[in-house]
């Protein structure tokens, strides 16, 4: 047995039942199971178990977000130096982005896990791993310039109101990370939208080159322009949108990085490919419909461009697929995903006050997912009843 195991065994007794520190058992267990997969064995009639557990599942999702995170770190630095008119090197951009984003991640995890531990302690449960994912999702849907205290407040809101009041991970109705973002979006609109928040330094304004605009493509589209330009006035191509060298929330800009994560999630079988696929399908269909009836420039944006813009891809891959808040039946997942994509583009284009239609569409469908499941399950029940009647005759 390793020295570490001996050490854990040595400090364990006070936490066990009857020990002085028993009230901190959840916390102790969280750290112990972080280090070691427990020695618990099966007791019922089923004697073997899949090696996959909640920790593994969650860490796989976090790994899938890494490409988007790394790109976001670089992109933050890239846009900052572009706005400042400084010709910076690659590592300089990465370092700048890292200094901006790392504190957001730390705040998100520390605040969120702190609350999770406290609730687990109160309830006498083991600490659930759900926040491993939420804690990374929250930073990725924030603008890089978001004040840290706002991240903290949003995280508290998301974990307490979005999750714990319903009974913790697995019981929540809304996706916690989106709850955090929606909270900030409505509570502090000036820090969460507009032309300046996406690129660090613009709000402050010192050193920014004259006439530089940090507006996002969706922000420009809402003004009904036909061509989209970056801060320097150069036209964006679809390739820029796909690659992600556009302003936006930290993790949402690079469609290619998000797709890498999506491939990983689908390969491992952790995320539902049905949801991801149907969100994109729903978005494309709505885009085409809008193209057909286009009366302004925004409606005429090529359907497939919509899939590259804003938080669409990020929402489809990482938010809509949250199994707890999504539809739980396989048939329901098709409907759920399709309606998210469909509504996201609808809200985005027809209600320019909310260019971030994806967030609202997912939250709305989170609320409707149980209803979709209800009808799918009812259909199953009806099939069974019908069968009984047929045989009775």
């Amino acid at each position: 047995m390793s020295a570490l195991r001996r050490f854990v065994d040595k400090i364990k007794p006070p936490f066990e039942k009857g020990g002085k520190l028993h009230m901190f058992l959840s916390t102790f267990e969280a750290f112990e199971t972080f280090l070691f997969v427990p020695d618990k064995v099966t007791t019922g009639r089923v004697h073997i178990r899949d090696a996959n557990d909640m920790k593994r599942t969650m860490i796989i999702v976090v790994v899938a977000m890494v490409p988007a995170l790394l790109f976001g770190i670089w992109n933050t630095g890239f846009h900052h130096f572009q706005a400042m008119g400084i010709d910076a090197g690659f590592w300089q951009m990465v370092w700048f982005g890292f200094l901006k984003i790392f504190p957001i991640i730390v705040v998100s995890y520390v605040v969120g896990l702190g609350i999770e531990f406290a609730f687990a302690q109160m309830r006498g449960h083991e600490v659930n791993e759900g926040f491993l994912v939420s804690g990374m999702l929250i930073p990725l849907v924030m603008p890089a310039d978001v004040p840290l205290w706002m991240v903290a407040v949003a995280t508290v809101f998301a974990v307490v109101i979005g999750k714990e009041v319903f009974g913790g991970t697995g019981m929540n109705i809304l996706n916690p990370a989106l709850t955090a973002r929606a909270f900030l979006f409505f509570a502090y609109p000036s820090q969460m939208s507009g032309d300046k928040v996406w690129i660090p330094g613009l709000v402050d304004g010192t050193g920014v080159i004259d006439g530089y605009s940090g507006s996002t493509i969706l922000g420009q589209a809402a003004q009904n322009t036909s061509t989209f330009v970056n801060g320097l006035g150069e036209t964006y191509t679809a390739w820029d949108m796909f690659l992600g060298t556009i302003p936006g929330s930290i993790g949402e800009t690079s469609t290619i990085a998000i797709l890498l994560g999506a491939l990983f999630l689908i390969f491992t079988g952790i995320a539902s490919w049905k949801i991801i696929f149907s969100v994109f399908a729903g978005g494309a269909v709505m885009g085409l419909l809008l193209n057909l009836f286009a009366v302004n420039e925004f409606m005429a944006i090529p359907s497939w461009h919509h899939l590259l813009l804003g938080g669409f891809a990020f929402g489809a891959v990482f938010m809509a697929t949250d199994p707890v808040s999504a539809s739980q039946t396989e048939r329901g997942k098709w409907i759920y995903g399709f309606l998210i994509g469909f509504l996201a583009i609808l809200i985005r284009v027809l209600n320019p006050a909310y260019p971030e239609g994806v967030m609202l569409a997912i939250l709305l469908m989170n609320v409707f997912a149980p209803l979709i499941d209800h009808y799918v399950v009812e259909a199953n029940i009806r099939r069974r009843l019908k069968r009984a009647k047929v045989t009775a005759n």
Binding site: F36, D39, R45, H47, A51, N52, D53, Q328, I381, R387
Partner: protein
């Protein structure tokens, strides 16, 4: 040849320790036991006194709520002990073997010439009636019921399962007799379900008087529950009986010879068995002589049955279950694994492809142990159960209905159609480590209480 029914969903768990097709006669055990716990919801009443002599086929206990259902001794000797478990529940009724095999005699004759009452009476008296199980609930059949059909699954797709084609070779006459008996018990069909993956074995496909169906697909295609669901699903109020292949043989031999033949073949399997083979033995044998010199040193778990639906038994003092055709020995998993959930996992079995083993050797066989691989959590992942359950049922919704004890919902969601073995794979693959089969059994128990008591 009838159409093959294709089962698409499911999972074949590839484990090491498949039994080689060799028969070995196992040495006789000193003691044999019938375990009331092998039947759900059975309360035994002991008949003989301790040290009373018994013969092969002498009743040793009966069902308190159905006194006509007898359980008889598989060997001759004396009633040695009655072992009790938690809350003084009887777990084993032990017979000491005298090696003489003196036998009780029962009615002998062609079932075609006997009345249904005579057949039922003969099965009850000989102690073979408990081989007939009833769906829903998977409990002993009630002699008064008229089942709408009887199902025999003549193949097993569970991990390391015995090959019934091998096991039933050359005994088609006894099997035919058994089928003839069962035919008299129902006005519906007797379904004999064969493995569609291989050209069917000569003996079984020539059985007459049955509806032969072929199934093809991964486990649980061989489970009788899946087959019933496909051919003749159980609606509320309906009853289907099921019998296992070796039990059909015993029933056939009873009518052919007028004697209870307790001999069975048990496949000794699993990664901790030195040389997995088939053992000829007697029902209720102590497991020790089967394992002697055949298993590896170390902490082992001995299972009567397979890893998906088996009972843990003690390697020294345990007894093989009444209708089990398999004993599995795998390593215990009581170890801590440093950062096990983060490491690549080259040797780990998982249906998710989140471990390196999925990339490197997708077809490898695993030395699976009994570790939980994580802690129990609330339901989070969805769609996992549906992938391994080839039934038109929503297992997670059903489990939730059971957890809140909503009888109406359980019925609506199809609880009558499932048994623990059908949902066993759901428990294996569950990321949240939910005790699926235990919840299901609780549900079946409370439902039966509501409906029948």
């Amino acid at each position: 040849m009838a159409d093959v029914i294709k089962i698409k969903k499911g999972l074949d768990i590839k484990m090491n320790g498949q039994a080689e097709k060799i028969y070995v006669k196992s040495p006789r055990s000193k003691t044999y036991a019938i375990k009331p716990v092998d039947w759900h919801g059975l309360t035994p009443k002991i008949i003989p006194k301790l040290c009373d002599p018994v013969k092969v086929g002498t009743p040793i206990f009966y069902d308190k709520y159905h006194p006509e259902i007898m359980f008889t001794s598989p060997v001759s000797g004396i009633l040695l002990s009655i072992n009790r478990g938690d809350r003084r529940r009887i777990v084993e009724v032990v017979i000491e073997d005298d090696g003489k095999d003196t036998r009780e005699t029962f009615l002998q004759g062609d079932p075609a010439d006997l009345s249904r009452e005579q057949i039922v009476e003969n099965l009850l008296e000989s102690g073979l009636w408990p081989m007939i199980r009833r769906r829903p609930y998977t409990v002993i059949a009630r002699p008064g019921d008229q089942p709408k059909s009887i199902f025999i699954s003549a193949f097993d797709t569970a991990p390391l399962a015995p090959d019934y084609d091998f096991l039933l070779k050359d005994i088609d006459e006894d099997f035919q007799w058994g089928v003839n008996v069962l035919k008299r018990l129902t006005e519906g069909k007797v379904h004999l379900n064969l493995d569609g993956r291989y050209p069917s074995v000569r003996t079984l496909s020539s059985i007459k008087g049955v509806e032969i169906n072929r199934f093809k697909g991964p486990h649980p295609a061989g489970n009788v529950g899946i087959q019933i669901h496909n051919l003749d699903p159980i609606n509320k109020g309906e009853v289907v009986w099921t019998v296992q292949p070796q039990d059909v043989l015993a029933i056939g031999r009873l009518f052919k010879t007028g004697q209870y033949d307790p001999s069975v073949v048990v496949a000794l399997t699993g990664s901790r068995v030195e040389k997995p083979i088939y053992l000829k033995t007697i029902r209720g044998t102590s497991v020790a002589p089967l394992l002697e010199n055949r298993i590896m040193e170390g902490e082992n778990r001995v299972i009567s049955g397979n890893v998906l639906n088996g009972r843990q038994i003690d390697a020294a003092e345990g007894y093989v279950g009444f209708s089990d055709s398999q004993v599995t020995v795998i390593p215990e998993g009581n170890y801590f694994e440093l950062f096990g959930w983060m490491l690549p996992g080259f040797k780990k079995f998982s249906t998710s492809r989140s471990f390196a083993s999925a990339l490197l050797m997708p077809n490898r066989h695993f030395d699976m142990d009994t570790n939980y691989h994580g802690g129990e959590r609330a339901f989070v992942m969805t769609g996992e159960y549906e992938k391994v359950l080839p039934m038109d049922i929503y297992p997670m919704h059903l489990l939730k209905a059971i957890m809140v004890n909503d009888i109406d919902k359980m019925e609506q969601l199809g609880i009558y159609e499932v048994d623990e073995e059908d949902l066993a794979l759901c428990e294996v693959v569950c990321t949240s480590k939910i005790p699926v089969t235990k919840i299901l059994r609780d549900g079946l128990r409370s439902l039966r209480k509501e409906m029948e008591e």
